[in-house]
Amino acid sequence: MNALRRIDSLREGDELPVREFRPDEIQLFLYNAALWNAHRIHFDHPYATRVEGHPGLVIAGPLLGDWLTQCAVEWLGESGRLISFEYSNRRLSYIGEILRSTGRVLSIDHDKSEAVLSLAILNQAGEVTTPGTAVVRLERA
């Protein structure tokens, strides 16, 4: 576990740890099973490619959003909590791609003891597939 972070020790531009994701068919299946999501583009390869014209099985958009929250909460540890979070799915990703999550401290509000984090999932081409932001509240010094 990380050492506790304090609002006064944060600096704008601080980088959050990068994490690499290599989602496979099993993880995508279990994710959609946990949701009860039967959308065929996530498990039926012939349908996804021949009928809908995708190059492969589509990684579920909310899973990418979840990974952004993990980027924030793992960095935060027990130092504080997530206040709000937003993201959008801008570009599709497919099984076989290697993705990574990144984040940095965008701004700090010392009065509220809050920080805004800029988050993103990037693909191997370096394109942002899923941008997001999170507001976190930390303990004071």
């Binding site: 946990a34 959308h39 065929r40 997530l82």
Partner: protein, 151 residues
């Protein structure tokens, strides 16, 4: 702004889905945590739900004949607009309380806004749906705003 939007469409603003009540179990949290690749012990052990666990908790459970041929449940709250197709939208969440096993949570979804913006290749219609999640004591747990864009 908004002058081309059909009054019948705008009349849908304010409509809600019936409230949905679900019980949070440790097993469901653990399944969600493992499937999403969580690494924090509290999530993997199911002591607390990861931030977007509510996506799984409130996913519609409908009879097979209410799924479309591509496996998707028809969402009655989001209106369809002839000649328009949905683009990727966005999601905004506000977290009020942690979710733990044994919680009995109720969500209510309301269509809160429909508006139009000019995109680079024509008008875009934005549809906003807000989901409010409360616990058994009616205390706020989570607010989710989904924006769907029709092109």
């Amino acid at each position: 702004m908004g002058t081309t939007l059909d009054p019948g469409l705008l009349a849908r603003i304010g409509s809600s889905s019936p409230p949905q009540t679900e019980v949070v179990t440790r097993r469901d949290i653990r399944k969600y945590a493992i499937a999403t690749g969580q690494r924090l012990r509290k999530y993997l052990d199911g002591d607390e739900a990861p931030p977007t666990f509510h996506v799984a908790l409130f996913w519609p459970v409908v009879p097979l004949d209410e799924l479309s041929p591509d496996g998707v449940a028809f969402d009655r709250l989001f209106p369809e607009v002839a000649g328009k197709r949905p683009l990727a939208g966005g999601l905004k969440l506000e977290f009020h309380r942690p979710i733990r096993p044994g919680d009995v949570l109720t969500s209510t979804r309301t269509l809160t806004d429909i508006y139009e913006k000019q995109g680079s290749s024509g008008p875009l219609i934005f549809i906003e749906v807000v989901m409010e999640v409360v616990n058994a004591s009616r205390e706020p747990v989570l607010t989710e705003k989904t924006t769907r864009i029709l092109k």
